[in-house]
């Protein structure tokens, strides 16, 4: 990376350039049918306090029992993030009082997390690979929800989310711009969705991020950081970081100092505001939860999970490039979602992979977006996209017809072969038939033919267009060119 490239990330202040330093803590809800330490369901959207066991409500004498599914999910996530899996980890109690925290403590992992250091490859603003360090992943319980808007003087508590398993994925402070942060979150989301350890549903809160932001003179000492809590969309993450970095730069350039504090992002104003300062920070009094034994994993347990890992996005991108001959950019687009990959691989079977990827990422994604349709509601089956490309490859239809045909397929979900047959859209590849069209055009445009023959070469395109029009787009463009050229001598 050149200096010029790097500078594009800097904020240019009045006195100097400033570099943003970002570390993210992503809270990813573990995909599991029951909670981290109780048998209660994790189903989203249930009536308040429907998914609550005696353990979740912290009734006297109730004890947590570790959910092995959640452990497995954390290990899978660690492997996917090239991280060290710790064979010994400990659940600790993080003590604080809040009405939606029934136990009076959150069970989390403090000194000994289940997953240690790892890394994730992202694409930076210049389209280059960048490795972001992962500090650790630990498992912890989610808290409940306080509802303050249901009654004029009372707050209500919903414990459905209480005790649901979260993975906290802590990055190193390796991110340098809001765009990189966004790219990192997207990539984490993609990876977790791939290996099915988190549904990545940000609107439902399954993936949220706390952003630690500081600024410094380029390559200088790290500045004081502020933590922006609980951001639940990639857009808000970028916005909040940008705002916060600019706020810090302004303070520093005016001779101020940054207070280490926790801040909230106001989505309506796009600003961050102080929530609590370092002095007000809780003393969480972490200590190992005596109700739970330390978690010990065996090598065979870990290697079994390792052997069952599905293909990861980075491996997949490599494979797509070599197997289908598509560009890295296209491979990355396809790899973003598992369902894209499935669709692509089904529709590209025995076809030109480049052609298929173009149809999929430009035409199909375009129509879906235009009509506001989710990918899983896509009206064109992969078989039919495969057929369409087959029709193009064997020259049954022309490129122009193909676009119209695609729109019909999108509207009707019908087989392209069927539509071509019904509407007679086959490309005309018969020389004599094309000659008829060419003759017709020459006859109808005698003046233009004269002009062409007297040297106005540009008119050739006009004749091609006219022939295609007369043939209703069915004439093979190559043959049209060839025959036109021979007749216009």
């Amino acid at each position: 990376m050149t200096n010029a490239d790097q500078n594009s990330n800097y904020i240019s202040g009045k006195t100097s350039d400033w570099e943003i330093v970002i570390g993210l803590e992503i809270h990813a809800q573990v995909l599991s049918s029951s909670k981290l330490f109780s048998g209660a369901s994790t189903e989203f959207g249930k009536d308040p306090n429907h998914n609550v066991s005696l353990v979740d409500a912290a009734m006297p004498g109730m004890l947590p029992v570790i959910n092995q599914t959640c452990i497995k999910q954390a290990i899978k996530s660690g492997i996917a993030l090239n991280a060290e899996i710790n064979k010994y980890s400990v659940f600790d109690r993080k003590n604080y009082f809040y009405a939606d925290l029934p136990q009076g403590y959150q069970i989390s992992q403090y000194k000994y997390p289940i997953v240690g250091e790892g890394s994730l490859k992202i694409t930076d603003v210049n389209g280059e690979d960048k490795i972001i360090g992962i500090e650790r992943i630990h498992l912890e319980q989610d808290a409940g929800k306080s509802l303050h808007d249901q009654h004029p003087s009372k707050s209500f508590i919903d414990l459905n989310r209480t005790g649901v398993a979260l993975m906290e994925i802590v990055s190193k402070p390796d991110l340098r711009s809001p765009e990189e942060a966004a790219s990192y979150v997207k990539k984490i989301r993609t990876v977790l969705r791939y290996i099915e350890t988190c549904d990545g549903n940000m609107e439902q809160g399954s993936l949220r991020a706390d952003c630690n932001v500081s600024v410094r003179k380029p390559n200088g000492d790290l500045g004081t950081r502020c933590e922006i809590k609980n951001l639940n969309s990639i857009k808000f993450i970028s916005q909040a970081i940008q705002y916060e970095a600019e706020r810090q730069v302004e303070i520093l350039e005016n001779g101020g100092v940054i207070d280490q504090e926790t801040r909230l992002f106001d989505t309506s104003t796009g600003e961050t505001r102080s929530m609590r300062s370092k002095e007000d920070a809780h003393d969480y009094r972490y200590f190992p939860d005596p109700d739970l034994l330390p978690l010990e994993l065996s090598d065979s347990q870990i290697s079994k999970i390792r052997s069952e890992m599905p293909e990861l996005p980075d491996q997949l991108v490599e494979r797509l490039i070599s197997e289908y001959g598509i560009t890295k950019y296209d491979a990355n687009v396809i790899a973003e979602e598992k369902e894209y990959v499935q669709y692509y691989e089904n529709s590209a079977k025995n076809r030109d992979g480049k052609l298929v990827v173009n149809w999929m990422t430009s035409e199909l994604f375009g129509l879906l977006k235009k009509n506001n349709i989710q990918f899983n509601q896509n009206p064109i089956s992969p078989n039919y996209l495969n057929e369409l490309v087959e029709l193009i490859e064997n020259k049954t239809i022309s490129g122009k017809i193909a676009k119209d045909l695609f729109e019909i397929m999108f509207a009707t979900s019908k087989s392209p072969k069927m539509i071509v047959k019904e509407k007679g859209l086959e490309q005309v590849t018969d020389d004599s038939a094309i000659e008829v069209f060419v003759d017709q055009v020459i006859n109808e445009n005698k003046e233009k033919v004269k002009e062409y023959l007297s040297g106005k070469d540009k008119l050739f395109g006009f004749f091609v267009g006219q022939v295609m029009k007369v043939s209703q787009g069915k004439a093979n463009p190559g043959l049209v060119n060839k025959i036109l050229k021979s007749k216009l001598k």
């Binding site: 006297p60 004498g61 004890l63 029992v65 009405a99 009076g104 009094r285 200590f287 005596p290």
Partner: protein
């Protein structure tokens, strides 16, 4: 039949089987005994109607020959055990009117085998205390020389007193630092703290999770074996419960102790220890010698650190375990103008002084900046204490010590908290190490108060402990009855 209260569990079971009396008669007799001993303030809640209903079923089972292991045995339950449909308060105002919708695993194990619940027994608030004086509903009076108003010990004071006063045939207790063994010694009954993990903690109000362990309080050693057998179980709902097989403790009782090695730790001594207690220890040593055991003086130099370690670890865990009593979901709530004010009001009025003191100590030792110096160091010393026991059990099979430095003192006489905490000095080490311990009465002291002796053993060797205790019991032949007992 003359006096049904005099029989032990094993005797009662065989008489019920022979239909010498019915379970209903037995339960009625115990209900009567509870009424007669009301002044001792042992029961917080009774469930007589339910007990009589259960007695009918037991009688039917005896009639059909379908009797279960403890069919018809009337028990008292320490108020730390959650009992379905029956108020469970842990002797605290903060849990007033709390009626669990679930039954603790240990009590469920007992009811499944036909035992009958007479009611809930008083204890120190949240099991924090050694004299039963911290109970919200007032102290229990020791049935021995009851007119002198002495402590039954604590925290399972109600349980030990009820068994001694014949207001229950046996009772459940919980032991965190001596809460079964010390009151058993003070009340002249048998108290057994099993190995940590032998009994499930599920459904027992938590005090200090890494130390809490349920166990029986009974009239004699055989009854302790019977009770323990039923109370023990592997419980997947308690991650710290052990999946070791539960032996048939009762059937395997009575083995000879010839050739076994008994260690006598020299550190289990203190300045204030009475000559009666030292004498009881010597008597016990002689009983063991007479039965062919080898007596070996041993050293456990870390013993002196046990009490300070205990008073860091237990309050630390308690401060966190008791955070759930916040007035939000159940138990008492004293409203306030904000959430914090509601917490403060509820916890201020809901908890007694001793509980508050321990929450404060626990919060302090876990605080940032103090954690390493207190909690972490205490845990390290705890591990060393455990190791010291492991090492000593390579040399000897069991340890014999006094259970307490004194016999039952007068209620209200101990103003100094440190003196109070010193009561646990001989019981706390085994709790920290997680090893089993049993206390049984040997004799009466000069004030006609019972003196207890403690036997400690290896992890999960309750069987051996019971065997040794049985030998000592038959030699000591302790047959006295307190003057406060029902008759």
């Amino acid at each position: 039949m003359s006096n049904l209260l005099q029989f032990s569990i094993s005797e009662t079971l065989s008489l019920l089987e022979k239909k010498e009396f019915s379970t209903q008669e037995l339960v009625e007799t115990y209900i009567n005994a509870i009424e007669k001993t009301k002044d001792l303030n042992m029961y917080l809640t009774t469930c007589f109607d339910q007990a009589l209903e259960k007695a009918k079923i037991s009688d039917q089972n005896y009639l059909n020959g379908n009797q279960r292991f403890l069919e018809g045995i009337p028990l008292g339950v320490k108020d730390m055990f959650c009992t379905k449909g029956i108020e469970t308060t842990a002797s605290s105002k903060i849990l007033k009117k709390f009626i669990p919708t679930y039954e603790s695993t240990v009590t469920q194990n007992l009811w499944k085998e036909g035992a009958i619940n007479l009611g809930k027994l008083s204890c120190d608030e949240f099991a924090m205390g050694s004299s039963n004086e911290t109970a919200a509903k007032g102290e229990v009076i020791n049935p021995w020389n009851f007119e002198e108003k002495r402590t039954p010990g604590g925290s399972s004071g109600g349980s030990a007193a009820a068994v001694a006063a014949k207001a229950a045939l046996a009772a459940t207790g919980t032991d965190t630092g001596g809460s079964i063994r010390q009151p058993a010694a003070f009340c002249g009954v048998v108290g057994l703290k099993p190995t940590y993990g032998r009994c499930s903690r599920w459904g027992i109000v938590a005090f200090a999770s890494s130390l809490d362990q349920a166990g029986p309080i009974t009239r004699n050693v055989s009854d302790a074996a019977l009770m323990l057998q039923v109370m023990s179980s592997y419980d997947p709902k308690d991650s710290t419960s052990s999946n070791k097989d539960v032996p048939n403790f009762y059937n395997d009782l009575g083995k000879s102790i010839k050739g076994i090695k008994i260690g006598i730790p020299e550190e289990y001594n203190s300045d204030g220890i009475s000559s009666d207690i030292l004498n009881a220890k010597d008597m016990t040593i002689n009983f063991l010698k007479e039965n062919g055991a080898e007596i070996i003086p041993v050293k456990l130099p870390l013993t002196k650190y046990s009490l300070p370690v205990y008073y860091i670890v237990a309050p630390a865990e308690a401060s966190s375990n008791l955070a759930r009593y916040d007035g939000v979901r159940y138990g008492a709530r004293i409203d306030g103008n904000s959430l914090d004010e509601m917490y403060e009001n509820t916890r201020n009025l809901g908890f007694g002084d001793e509980v508050k003191r321990r929450i404060m100590i626990g919060t302090y030792v876990l605080s940032s900046g103090y954690y390493d110096a207190y909690y972490l160091k205490a845990q390290k010393v705890r591990r060393l204490i455990k190791n010291e026991f492991t090492e000593i059990f390579k040399q000897v099979d069991y340890l014999v010590t006094p259970t307490t430095p004194t016999t039952a003192f007068k209620l209200g006489s101990t103003q100094d908290l440190l003196t109070m905490y010193l009561n646990d000095v001989f019981t706390v080490p085994a709790s920290l190490a997680g090893i089993p311990g049993i206390s049984l009465p040997i004799k009466l002291d000069k004030n006609k108060l019972p003196v207890g002796i403690q036997i400690l053993g290896k992890d999960f060797d309750e069987q051996g402990l019971l065997n040794v205790a049985k030998v000592i019991e038959s030699c000591a032949s302790f047959k006295d009855t307190p003057n406060g007992a029902a008759s």
